[in-house]
């Protein structure tokens, strides 16, 4: 079963008298275990696609199936439940709650869990933070963490519900080049462990760490192929370390 299957997904915004066609029919299928980069310049429709894939918005036309669930007919509350259980979000601006510790931020999605599962939010949050290498920073607030660490907290928050899909919107947009590689290394590592990840980015340097790249322009997919010369972020990091040591 595919994690994502869209067919003729269309989104039109009414802006005054004229209509803006943000998406003009997207057919996209993403299988379990993929690491996909969705690329495109601003205005290409990649953010709109991201919002639709993230169940934050409803399509004007077309169908979208997320992990076997048809999304386009769901109500606001059903969408909230779906986001909570099947999706993990990583944003460009980290979007952590200020003045709130790392562990409190990470357990937040579990507090909104309605599945009736018996969960221990605190324990799961600590496990997720350890998984992203922040086991020592549980009680730090965002303001006490570096950008890379904040993004790791956000990734831990995305992982804590064991979602079917992690959606990352420009996850490295606010990070320097070394931290970017660190974060991509973490994504690759998680992907190796079986997490399906979709990264929306406009940076080609980021896309080279993905397995598959989907390029958009004017609301359409113009390129969809496996990444040639795929790079291992962990190896790039080692090289960086050697260079700075020399």
């Amino acid at each position: 079963m595919s994690v994502i299957r869209t067919s003729s997904l269309t989104k039109t915004y009414a802006s005054g008298t004229n209509e803006v066609h943000a998406l003009r029919g997207i057919d996209l299928t993403i299988e379990r275990g993929e690491l996909v980069a969705i690329m495109g310049t601003s205005g290409s429709g990649k953010s709109t696609l991201m919002n639709l894939l993230g169940c934050l918005d409803s399509p004007t036309k077309g169908s979208y199936e997320l992990d076997g669930v048809h999304v386009e007919t769901l109500s606001r509350n059903e969408l909230a439940k779906l986001r909570n259980e099947k999706l993990g979000f990583v944003f460009q601006g980290f979007n952590l709650l200020p003045r709130t510790t790392a562990v409190e931020n990470v357990e937040l999605p579990l507090l909104y869990d309605r599945s009736g599962r018996k969960l221990d939010p605190r324990a799961l949050a600590i496990a997720a933070l350890k998984r992203v290498g922040l086991g020592e920073r549980l009680d730090h607030q965002p303001s006490e963490l570096s950008g890379g660490q904040q993004q790791r907290v956000a990734i831990a928050r995305a992982l804590v519900t064991s979602p079917a899909l992690v959606l990352a919107d420009e996850p490295t947009g606010n990070l320097d080049s070394r931290t970017t590689i660190e974060v991509m290394s973490l994504f690759q590592e998680l992907n190796e462990e079986g997490v399906t990840i979709v990264i929306v980015t406009h940076e080609p340097e980021v896309a080279v760490y993905a397995k598959r790249v989907v390029e958009m322009r004017d609301g359409r997919i113009v390129r969809d192929e496996a990444v040639k010369n795929r790079r291992q972020a962990s190896r790039d990091l080692e090289k960086l370390d050697e260079r700075s040591a020399a």
Binding site: N51, G54, L56, D57, R76, N77, A80, K81, R83, N84, E85, F89, F91, N95, L96, L97, P98, R99, T100, E104, L108, P109, L111, Y112, D113, R114, R157
Partner: protein, 405 residues
């Protein structure tokens, strides 16, 4: 979502904005404290008046001459001196539920004792007077029925009079002179303190009414008759009975107004309490306005808070919070602030009433019901003024909220 989690989230976010929360609660705190203090002062005044009225006696009925109207002109009580000892005897004889009745012959006179002289009230009464006014003697005893029938010159002194005329010694067995007539002191009354109107109830000398009539006044009318019943439930029946008896004996025609007034202790208390009741209401109303302003303060801050925390709301919505979760969170926040403010205001109000009572000497009474109402009401203020901002927060679209800078 579980209530405990909701409360935790709300208190978390209040703790993260301590200063803002404190300023928000300030309105409620001041409002509740003001209401508590104002009502405590009002209740205190009422309970003081009530205590003074009850101090008059138990199940007491006061009959005064004159009343309502004469030829269409309102005269007020005591306009006509038309109560007599015959009326007392008739009430004693015929009224079924009246258990005690006494005339009160009032005069003022100089009293001379061992250590000097003192101008005071001389009340000529029957032995029932002690029962009606529930007045114990601290020394000696009240005069006996034989003293009344034999017109004996015996006197019972009020505490104040005893202190003035016999400082440091027991007056019982000694002699006082009232208008140059010697009286044997047989007892001293226990202290009763101030009356509702502020005069000293202990500044009095009681003598048999027969003696008073013969020796002091010679008048045959009475300014007052006091009566009482065995139980409180009989008071109204006794009043009716007395009224019917008096109307019959005076041959007052049907439809004509009484030419006397029969009142009970509650009537007296209510008249005295009337003004304080209005005052209490007025004070409470003013204080409530500050509570209202406090509520508007909560709404104001919550509205600002919703705008300020738009991004936070977006994050919560994105990771799976429902609109109703956000609504409840904000509502719980404002309720927690309201109740917390109410509790702090309550504590402040209680302390404030104590302090005020201490410095002014006013009696203050804080009823547990009022405390409960104050806290529940401030919670309700939280709900009322928190709902609109909370609904605004819940209606946000996740994408727009996330994009908000």
């Amino acid at each position: 979502m579980k209530t405990t989690i909701l409360v935790r989230l709300a208190t978390q976010s209040i703790r993260k904005n301590k200063m803002r929360a404190a300023l928000t609660m300030l309105g409620i705190i001041i409002g509740v404290a003001a209401v508590i203090v104002m009502v405590a002062v009002g209740f205190g005044a009422r309970s003081r008046i009530r205590a003074q009225i009850n101090n008059l006696g138990t199940n007491m009925i006061v009959i005064t001459p004159g009343a309502a109207q004469a030829a269409g002109v309102s005269q007020g009580a005591q306009a006509f001196p038309n109560l007599s000892l015959d009326d007392v005897e008739m009430i004693r004889r015929e009224a079924q539920v009246v258990t005690a009745v006494t005339p009160v012959i009032v005069s003022r006179s100089q009293v001379i004792g061992e250590a000097g002289n003192w101008r005071t009230m001389i009340n000529g009464v029957d032995t029932d007077y002690q029962v009606i006014r529930d007045w114990q003697t601290s020394s000696g005893s009240f005069f006996a029925p034989e003293d009344v029938t034999a017109l004996r010159k015996v006197a019972v002194l009020g505490k104040t009079v005893a202190d003035q005329l016999f400082p440091g010694s027991d007056p019982v067995g000694q002699e006082v002179q009232i208008r140059n007539v010697p009286f044997d002191v047989v007892g001293v009354l226990a202290a009763k303190g101030q009356t509702a109107s502020g005069s000293d109830s202990d500044d009095v000398v009681l003598i048999p009414h027969t003696t008073a009539k013969a020796v002091l006044s010679g008048r045959s009318f009475l300014p007052q008759i006091l009566a009482s019943t065995a139980s409180e439930g009989d008071i109204v029946a006794a009043q009716d009975e007395i009224r019917v008896l008096l109307r019959e004996s005076r041959r007052i025609g049907e439809g004509d107004p009484d030419d006397f007034t029969v009142r009970n202790q509650n009537d007296l208390a209510e008249a005295a309490e009337g003004s304080t009741k209005v005052m209490t209401l007025l004070l409470a109303a003013i204080a409530s306005i500050s509570l209202l302003v406090g509520g508007i303060g909560i709404m104001n801050i919550m509205l600002v808070s919703v705008t300020e925390r738009t991004r936070e709301i977006g994050i919560r919505l994105a990771i799976g919070a429902r609109g109703s979760d956000v609504l409840t969170q904000f509502l719980v926040e404002s309720i927690v602030m309201g109740v917390l403010g109410g509790l702090i205001g309550l504590a402040l109000g209680v302390v404030g009433s104590e302090v005020l009572g201490h410095f002014t000497g006013w009696e203050t009474v804080i009823s547990p019901l009022l405390m409960l109402v104050a806290v529940v009401f401030s919670g309700a203020v939280g709900v009322f003024f928190g709902y609109y901002p909370a609904r605004k927060a819940a209606a946000l679209h996740p994408i727009e909220a996330l994009r908000y800078e």
